[in-house]
């Protein structure tokens, strides 16, 4: 039955989101084509400069839209009049909830992937086109190879930490995809007994608490940074020269390597907080929906 529920939830989101993706990817493809085709460097930079703002909006729009649609689906299908149908289906109430959270996460993943592709295409084209990215002015393929080589040199000895870091990033992305639907479901479930303005209450709590968490994360990050200054690897470097950014990737990677410890710790903290909220929200929402449903 969970599968059946998911089928319909996926279908709902598939009404609008794919069109956004098509639009976004088309926009990105246009930009990419523009970058590849234009010969005049000034015109190229002007073009990129003029459109990057719209581009960022496009990426943001996709991310915001998928969040909004997910929230609308959760609220409407479970806690508005539609809930009278959804919660009288011959399924466990918890499955209704879980279906929403899983499909919310899936669409978040898809949106994220589309956003990454949208950003990667023009950047790849730009890297290809822009001359003198490396000291020897090599072609794109060889350029990437040399970057990777220099990067590995700078990170020598830190491979394990790097792998852990990358795994943590992936884990964090996975958790954050579940965070929004789980936490929003929690907000709805907790306010659903209130008849008036419960839609606003649920959205309000969601946004408010999310901001609060963001703020908390920023504070924690700053604290860790300050503390970390005293604990970072002394073999590495904790400042970088501006030229290193463009000409010497080994210095860049050494800097990166020294900060790995700090960043890993920050990631762990952020990830743990998010994971805890996600899990607790999911469990509480499940309990409310299964045992204490009161649809007014």
């Amino acid at each position: 039955m969970l599968g059946k529920l998911m089928k319909y939830d996926m279908k709902y989101m598939a009404r609008i989101l794919p069109w956004l993706y098509v639009g976004g990817l088309a926009f990105s493809a246009l930009m990419t084509a523009f970058i590849l085709v234009i010969k005049d460097a000034t015109l190229l930079f002007l073009g990129i400069y003029a459109s990057y703002f719209m581009f960022i909006i496009a990426v943001e729009a996709i991310s915001v839209c998928s969040s909004v649609f997910m929230m609308v689906r959760i609220y409407k299908n479970m806690f508005s009049d539609e809930g009278y149908l959804t919660f009288t289906l011959p399924v466990k109430n918890g499955d209704v909830l879980n279906s929403k959270i899983f499909t919310g996460a899936i669409w978040t993943f898809i949106s994220g992937t589309v956003a990454v592709v949208m950003i990667a295409m023009p950047i790849a084209a730009a890297s290809y086109k822009l001359p003198k990215m490396s000291a020897d002015g090599m072609g794109f393929g060889l350029l990437i190879e040399s970057i990777i080589k220099q990067f590995s040199v700078g990170l020598a000895g830190n491979e394990a930490k790097l792998i852990i870091f990358i795994l943590l990033v992936i884990a964090l992305i996975a958790v954050s995809a579940f965070f929004a639907p789980a936490f929003y479901s929690f907000c709805c479930a907790v306010t659903h007994k209130v008849k008036r303005a419960r839609a606003f209450a649920s959205v309000g709590i969601f946004i408010g608490v999310s901001y609060g968490i963001g703020l908390l994360m920023s504070i924690i990050t700053v604290i860790v940074e300050i503390f970390g200054e005293y604990v970072s690897d002394t073999t590495g470097v904790n400042t970088i020269t501006p030229t290193a950014l463009i000409y010497d990737t080994s210095e860049l990677s050494a800097y990166f390597g020294s900060r790995l410890n700090i960043m890993t710790v920050e990631l762990l903290i952020v990830g743990t907080v998010m994971l805890t909220i996600t899990v607790v929200s999911w469990i509480v929402a499940n309990r409310i929906v299964n045992k204490k449903l009161n649809l007014l």
Partner: protein
């Protein structure tokens, strides 16, 4: 064991009892009228039975089970409000019901829709309020459930449709199933009722067969109701 058994069922909203200790049995094969003024607890009783509310105290058992996936599979609920998403088409809904309810008869649904002149390809957004209600009724009556809960099925509906609804209820009648109709338009349905339950302030003040009521009081159920609930 009756098909539905209510034992001391109570529902409080901030210490105000919407239902106060309901003890009632609904056997199979009966058409029961749940009768009472607004706010007497009819809808609360129904929502507790179909699982949209949780009791504050007491129990409701359908075929021996508390409300859950098992009971929802054998219960058909027609609420007073529209519970369908506006963007779906009628036929999409027919498929939706067929997908989740194994007792749903697709052919019967399409036949009823065509009899009522409703085009299945239309989206619900484009239908009038009355037509939407008819669609919901068709979906509910196309199920072969063990108990049907119809909350005010004839209130906002024209007389011809009213007749159609009553005839559908009669035609669907089976000795293994029961129909519970909550309404305040009693004279329209009283000839169809087997039993009548009068509800006031969350309590059952009368539960008897319609024939008994007429014989004992010498009045129709509608007339007795007006007397009992006189303002």
């Amino acid at each position: 064991m009756a098909l539905i058994e209510y034992r001391k069922l109570t529902k409080l909203y901030k210490n105000v009892p919407a239902l106060n200790g309901i003890d009632l049995d609904i056997p199979a094969g009966r058409i029961v009228g749940l009768l009472g003024p607004n706010g007497s607890g009819k809808t609360t009783l129904i929502k507790l039975t179909v699982g949209l509310l949780t009791p504050t105290a007491g129990t409701v058992m359908i075929d021996g089970f508390a409300p859950g996936p098992q009971t929802k599979a054998i219960t058909a609920y027609l609420p007073e409000r529209s519970y369908m998403s506006e963007w779906m088409t009628v036929s999409a809904f027919v498929s939706y019901f067929a997908d989740f309810y194994s007792d749903f008869d697709k052919n019967k649904a399409y036949e009823m829709l065509s009899r009522l002149g409703i085009d299945p390809k239309r989206t619900l957004k484009t239908l009038s309020k009355g037509t939407k209600e008819k669609v919901q009724l068709v979906l509910v009556m196309s199920r072969a459930a063990k108990v049907y809960f119809l909350d005010e099925p004839i209130a906002g509906v024209d007389p011809a449709a009213r007749d159609y609804i009553l005839n559908t209820i009669i035609r669907n009648y089976s000795e293994n199933a029961s129909v519970v109709i909550s309404t305040h338009l009693i004279s329209d349905i009283e000839n169809v009722l087997d039993d009548a339950v009068f509800l006031r302030n969350g309590q059952v003040i009368l539960a008897d067969s319609a024939d008994n009521i007429r014989e004992k009081s010498g009045k129709s159920v509608d007339m007795l109701f007006r007397e009992v609930f006189r303002c």
